[in-house]
Amino acid sequence: MNNKITIGIPRALLYYKYNVLWQSFFKELGIDTLISPETNYEILENGKKNTMSEACLSMKIYVGHVDYLKDKVDYILVPRIVSLEKGMKLCTNFSALYDILNNTFDINILNYNIDVDKGITEELAFIKMGQELGFGKILSLNAYKAAKKEEYKQNKINYLLQEKRLNRNKTKVLLVCHTYNSNDNLVGKLVTDNLKEFGVDVIYADIINPDGDRLLYKNISKALYWTYNQELLNSIEEYKDKVDGIIFLSTFPCGPDSLVNEMCSHKIDKKMITILIDELSTIEGLQTRLESFIDILRKDRFYE
């Protein structure tokens, strides 16, 4: 491989978690990237066409983005992540992503594989990916380290901005939702745009303090082993006393959320609402639910 190639990055799923890391890494190596646009209905339709009907909405969106990129780039980045820490897991979709996509489209996939339980760390995975792209070990490692620094910086900025929002005197709602959903045009944005219109400040549970206490989740659930849900629960513990209410937002039928969100509803004493978005959810229906929830929160504030 040479560096005149373009790597396509689907703007879905892990993109929202790792876009800074990916883009800085490829930039360090001088490789061009093409990112698919914000999710639109055409992308969703194409995703639906190419996935099993029962797959979760986030997966359908992801496949739609890959479909968008498939004829426009040389390689599409599809990582496989089993575990990011010892004893921890991600939803099995992330283990299967590579093989599912390979069985769906006739495309060239650039893949990296993280499985910390088996000793394959993110660093090793990125070095291997760099080598596959034709770069040396040292070069790849340096690119990874530089990218990691960028990632940290960005996470810290996001966190500080959120701290600022927390100190404003407005109605505040904590949105508990996977990063890939909270930022998606047809999932989280439907909710956050509406909330902003109602004059509500949104606190994102998926914005995480990179230097924060990572064990707060144990107050809610000791046995939890899904990394991303653990991060969300950490945020709930950190923010719950500073917000007026909590919105749990999931895509249908998310496996981990189905259990973890139920656990939260047993453990947290706070005004909350669960919203499940699927491919058929309508904006009108959503607005009604959000508005009434906000009304309830505001009444609480009036009477205090």
Binding site: S53, E279, L280, T282, E284
Partner: protein
């Protein structure tokens, strides 16, 4: 000497169909009525009406087949010689009429299915797994909501130039979508046409997902009578879609053909319509399994029962 004739009955959730054929598979009598939630009276009514259309001086019925969701019940009532599922029945019927058929699309009252055929052999089939969206029951519901006669549904759809985008998975979901769209002031024909399109999309995305649809394509089941849906299928598949006049009778026709293999030499009497049938559902208490046992009585006498899963249960 009378000629042999074969009776096929297809009893579904919405409609009950009966067909009598002769040795060369010609239909000599047929009937189509609504089940209206009462399969016993539907079967009786069907048989009565078939009797009036049937020349018992020329023919005698030598075999009976039943199919559809109440196939077992109907089979017991009629003393059927063949009781088979409707998927196979549909396939057999279609292949006998269109020997070159490759794809059979069937959308009925509660089920939709796709059957792939190659050289008169069924090679693959699939059925809706998730829910009843996009089926006849769904369309009837929507028509009611829009205050349209279901029989006009198709022709209204054809008037539309700009079908509305609608979702169709669960009736519950789509209804709220439909209500919103109607309130936004879309034209009725555009909504109706949008519904037809959404049914086709739902079918292709769920039931027929991953299946290669080759022509000739035959479209059957109650919904095939809706020209709006037929048109939407043709637009989407970019091929001609065949709809038979007897498309709604295919299940009954197929089971009649299949019953030929199990001919019993006893003359079937139409007297069944006078007998008194009754079903009772028991929760068996023979063991902790609490099987739901269905018993059928003819003139107060227990004929048969089924549903029991073990030997120490009720009979």
């Amino acid at each position: 000497m009378k000629n042999n004739a074969y009776l096929g009955v297809d009893i579904g959730s919405i409609s009950t169909k009966g067909v009598i054929i002769d040795d060369s598979n010609n239909i000599i009598a047929c009937e189509y009525i609504k089940t209206q939630g009462n399969p016993i009276s539907a079967v009786k009514q069907l048989i009565k009406s078939l009797e009036s259309k049937f020349d018992s001086n020329l023919y005698k019925i030598v075999s009976i087949g039943t199919t559809g969701s109440a196939r077992k019940l109907a089979g017991k009532m009629l003393g059927a010689t063949t009781i088979k599922n409707e998927i196979t029945a549909h396939a057999i019927a279609t292949i006998s009429i269109h020997p070159d058929v490759r794809t059979i699309i069937e959308i009925g009252g509660q089920d939709s299915k796709i059957i792939l055929v190659d050289k008169k052999i069924v090679t693959d089939y699939a059925m809706n797994t998730l829910c009843a969206a996009g089926t006849g029951a769904f369309l009837t519901n929507q028509a009611k909501r829009l205050d349209i006669d279901i029989n006009d549904f198709g022709s209204i759809a054809l008037m539309s130039k700009n079908p509305v985008k609608l979702a169709a998975r669960c009736s519950v979901f789509a209804e709220s979508d439909l209500v919103h769209k109607a309130q936004l002031g879309y034209k009725k024909e555009d909504i109706v046409s949008g519904l037809c399109k959404s049914i086709v999309n739902n079918y292709l995305n769920n039931v027929a997902k991953g299946k290669k649809i080759l022509s000739p394509v035959v479209f059957q089941g109650g919904v095939s009578k809706n020209i709006g849906v037929v048109k939407a299928f043709e637009d989407e598949l970019k091929t001609n879609v065949i709809v038979d006049d007897i498309g709604h009778l295919m299940g009954a026709y197929g089971i009649a053909i299949m019953s030929k293999k199990s001919v019993k030499d006893n003359d079937f009497s139409f007297r069944i319509s006078d007998a008194n049938f009754e079903t009772k559902v028991y929760d068996c208490s023979g063991c902790a399994n609490n099987c739901e046992v269905i018993r059928i009585y003819k003139d107060m006498k227990l004929m048969d029962s089924w549903g029991n899963k073990c030997e120490n249960g009720l009979k």
